[in-house]
């Protein structure tokens, strides 16, 4: 090859590269869209690829479907249009932070809903400085329940400690009372992530209090190999196994349990191990498996019917697979949509029917009271029970129920159970007060909260 020829090729290559890079740079930074009047924007740090895509597509699909329903059916919230866009995080913290920085430049942000404990932890400092609420429905940092210390963080419906308490209370009811837990053996199989580890101390505490023994075993992320863990479980012969899984870890756990001969009806799934995507891949290994939930599955509820009619009827549905409408994650997305939209609506009653600031939406969340009658009016009776968020209780006394997989669908097997909030609150306050001290945060009082 002649040197001239090679030289031309090299030059063309470098030139093309330079052009491509500068073009990308221009396109990426030039595009920031101006804010329109009367809209409320939801930045969605979603994940549709990676090991947790099943949860991400279902949850964000349901959330978007509900926002679409409000826009199409009601023309927005009192005339204020809801807008959103998505930024892919793959459930990774640094991608979530990048998405936060990218999306926060957008005007009129209502609230953040990252659906990842790791990302939520990284955002707490940032959203507090920016004064925008951070919603971690059914998960999150437990002590952020204490609104005195975390004014902008809302682990709505169910924080991890309440989930633990709910599960233990349910096991007690199966044994015929809390006193019968004495001497029982429980194994907690948890996901190796901040989410999975969040409940380690509370299981230890409840074990001491009720006299059962607990052994907590970690499954490394993403959890598609659990032979060793289940062999340990077989040696220990526990009465129950609590599965605190996430994504692919759950069906693998159920299948491995079957292989090692542990009965599925003695495995209790937590609130992130309770979906169709967790049990269907496990086949008949999942039959009899029971899991806690804050929202029932199924599409028979009026609000779901309206989503099917209005949103999917117009071809605007977010789920590619229509069979997933009414699945656990999709319904959680719908419930999360209801909670976000109602917080905006409640805040609008105080501040006016207009675009609100993040701090005003925070006020809405702190007054988010949906009693069973209001839930029924929203078409969500039996989908979820109720919520009552106050300035200092950011969880809102959500109720839980238990569902059992019969091989075809989830069947609700309990009423709406209340976790033992009185027991948990002092532990939460101790932890949040330590955080306030470490960070030099002034603890809010009811007077200072009312004056805000």
């Amino acid at each position: 090859m002649s040197t001239v020829y090679r030289d031309i090729i090299t030059r063309a290559k470098t030139l093309g590269l330079a052009a491509a890079v500068s073009l990308t740079a221009f396109g990426a930074f030039a595009g920031s869209d101006a804010a329109r009047a009367d809209e409320q924007y939801f930045p969605l740090q979603s994940y549709r690829v990676g090991p947790y895509a099943a949860g991400g597509t279902g949850f964000f699909g349901g959330f978007i479907d509900y926002l679409n329903l409000i826009n199409t059916r009601d023309g927005g919230v009192n005339g204020v249009k809801l807008t959103w866009d998505e930024c892919e995080t793959q459930y990774e913290v640094e991608r979530g932070v990048e998405c936060y920085e990218r999306q926060k430049s957008h005007a009129n942000i209502a609230a953040w809903n990252p659906l990842s404990v790791g990302i939520a932890y990284a955002m707490i400092d940032r959203i507090t400085a920016d004064k925008v609420p951070l919603i971690t429905v059914n998960h999150g940092r437990t002590d952020s329940t204490d609104g005195r210390v975390f004014p902008y963080v809302f682990p709505l419906l169910l924080n991890p400690y309440s989930e633990t308490s709910g599960i233990i209370n349910y096991l007690a009811s199966r044994e015929g009372g809390l006193e019968n837990l004495k001497g029982k053996k429980i194994v907690v199989l948890y996901h190796g992530s901040p989410y999975g580890r969040e409940t380690i101390p509370i299981y230890e505490l409840l074990a001491q209090k009720y006299g059962f023994t607990v052994n907590q075993i970690e499954v490394p992320h993403p959890g598609n190999e659990q032979q060793a863990q289940w062999l340990t479980i077989r040696r220990e012969k526990p009465n129950y196994v609590v599965l605190r899984g996430w994504g692919v870890m759950n069906p693998v756990a159920l299948k491995t349990a079957q292989k090692t001969g542990f009965p599925a009806d003695h495995i209790i799934g937590n609130v992130w191990s309770n979906s169709e995507e967790d049990v269907i891949p496990a086949g008949d290994a999942a039959k009899g498996y029971t899991a806690i939930t804050t929202q029932a599955s199924g599409s028979q509820y009026p609000v779901l019917q309206e989503v099917v009619k209005t949103v999917y009827g117009a071809g605007k549905g977010n789920l590619d697979d229509k069979k997933r409408i009414g699945s656990v994650y999709h319904n959680l997305g719908i419930v999360n949509g209801i909670l976000n939209v109602e917080a905006v609506r409640i805040a609008q009653e105080k501040f006016g029917h207009r675009t609100l600031t993040g701090d005003e939406v925070r006020w809405g969340f702190e007054h988010l009271k949906l009693d069973p009658a209001r839930v029924e009016a929203l078409g969500a009776k039996d989908l979820f029970h109720s919520i009552n968020v106050t300035w200092d209780n950011h969880e809102g006394d959500g109720r839980v129920t238990f569902q059992q997989w019969d091989g075809e669908k989830w069947k609700v097997i309990s009423g709406w159970i209340a976790p033992d909030w009185q027991l948990l609150r002092p532990i939460i306050e101790k932890s949040s007060e330590a955080y306030a001290k470490e960070k030099g945060i002034k603890i809010r009082t009811s007077d200072s909260a009312a004056a805000e």
Binding site: T10, R11, K13, T14, V21, T24, A25, G27, A28, F29, G31, S46, Y47, R48, V49, A53, T57, D85, E86, C87, E88, Q90, V93, E94, V97, E98, E101, R102, S105, V117, G118, Y121, A122, I124, D125, R126, R141, T142, G192, S193, P194, Y195, R197, E198, T199, I200, P201, I202, E218, H221, N318, S431, Y435, E438, K439
Partner: protein, 344 residues
């Protein structure tokens, strides 16, 4: 790897060596802080600086001294968690001291896991450094004391203070990270022209010949591991405390080690600048691509499809880069600038 020459032996033909460095420093300290947005600092420059520094550390070990390591993320984790604990356990300790001690802790780990390098080479050594990766993660999740018994195993970053100066907000943290990176880079660049630096290269190019010339293999290899881990540990501190502001052990997984290795391979082995070129490509380019994708196709495809296509594009581009210039972006850049200067 023997084909890679010492960087100092290829001086720029027209410009004095200090001119581009001065220009970059003026831009970094004078211009960027004025025009930069919080997105630029938080999402681009802070991860870029932290990963550049980590890559610089690995480049000393792999590029200059020829020891392949897959434990970089583990040393980053050691640095981050050590700094957190020094800061927490010893009240009143200046941050700069705990940073230095964190670097030393990482260096001690590096030397410990570098011991197999005295007997193993190449891929076998790489596999043995994997042990660091698994051990550190296991220890950090197993012993709650290390994360101050935070229930999630997540640590919160302390405020950044240096000589009584508070580095707050995105700009402050950027300047903090920038200063540390500049100082360590200058030290590393200086070191590579000293006797120790040349001994690294001697060992890489021919261990037996180096031994014959009186280079202590034992001392030099462990020095390379120690120095490299010190820098990587400090990079871990920046990643955790200046960039993410929170960290969990899983954040420092094997993927991170691989991406640091890819940075130096793509950027250019045995080159100080290579770490920065490679980090720019690995950190900045996917973001540009993803923003461009979201801008053009955002309404048409969902974010999952876009993300998948970006991976394909990035993978293809990396292959193209390496075919066009196997010695890395640094060599590409040198060719480009040399032509440009000659033309004038």
């Amino acid at each position: 790897m023997t084909a890679i020459a010492l960087e100092t032996s290829v001086p720029s033909r027209r410009l004095p060596r200090w001119l581009p460095i001065l220009a970059i420093l003026i831009a970094a300290y004078g211009i960027i802080p004025v025009i930069g947005t919080s997105y630029l600092f938080e999402a681009i420059l802070l991860p870029f600086l932290a990963l550049s520094l980590a890559a610089l550390g690995l480049n000393i070990l792999t590029g200059y001294a020829g020891q392949l390591s897959l434990g970089s993320a583990a040393f980053m984790a050691v640095g981050a968690f050590a700094a957190y604990n020094f800061n927490l356990r010893i009240p009143g300790l200046p941050l700069i001291v705990s940073l230095f001690l964190a670097g030393l802790t990482a260096a001690a780990f590096g030397i410990l896991f570098g011991l197999p390098s005295l007997r193993l080479r190449g891929f076998y050594l790489a596999v043995s450094t994997l042990a660091a990766q698994f051990f550190v993660k296991w220890a950090l999740t197993r012993f709650g004391w290390l994360s101050n018994y935070n229930s999630s195993g997540v640590i919160d970053a302390p405020p950044l203070t240096l000589f009584g100066l508070q580095f707050q907000g995105p700009l402050g943290r950027y300047l903090f990270a920038l200063t540390i990176v500049v100082v360590l880079t200058a030290l590393a660049a200086r070191l590579m022209t000293t006797r120790s630096g040349r001994e690294f290269i001697a060992i890489r190019d021919n261990e037996i010949a180096a031994k014959v010339f009186g280079v202590s293999i034992f001392r030099t290899k462990l020095l390379a591991f120690g120095l490299s881990s010190f820098i990587i540990g400090v990079a871990g501190f920046l990643w955790a405390f200046a960039y993410l502001r929170t960290v969990e052990p899983d954040g420092f997984n094997l993927d991170r080690s691989f991406s640091i290795l890819f940075i130096i391979i793509i950027g250019g082995l045995a080159s100080i600048r290579g770490a920065f070129f490679g980090a720019a490509l690995i950190v900045v380019f996917p973001l540009l691509l993803s923003r461009l994708g979201a801008l053009i196709f955002g309404g048409v495809f969902d974010s999952g499809v876009l993300d998948m296509s970006q991976r394909i594009v990035i993978g293809a581009l990396i292959i193209l880069f390496l075919i066009a210039e196997p010695s890395g972006l640094v060599a590409l850049w040198d060719r480009l600038t040399r032509k440009f200067l000659v033309r004038r």
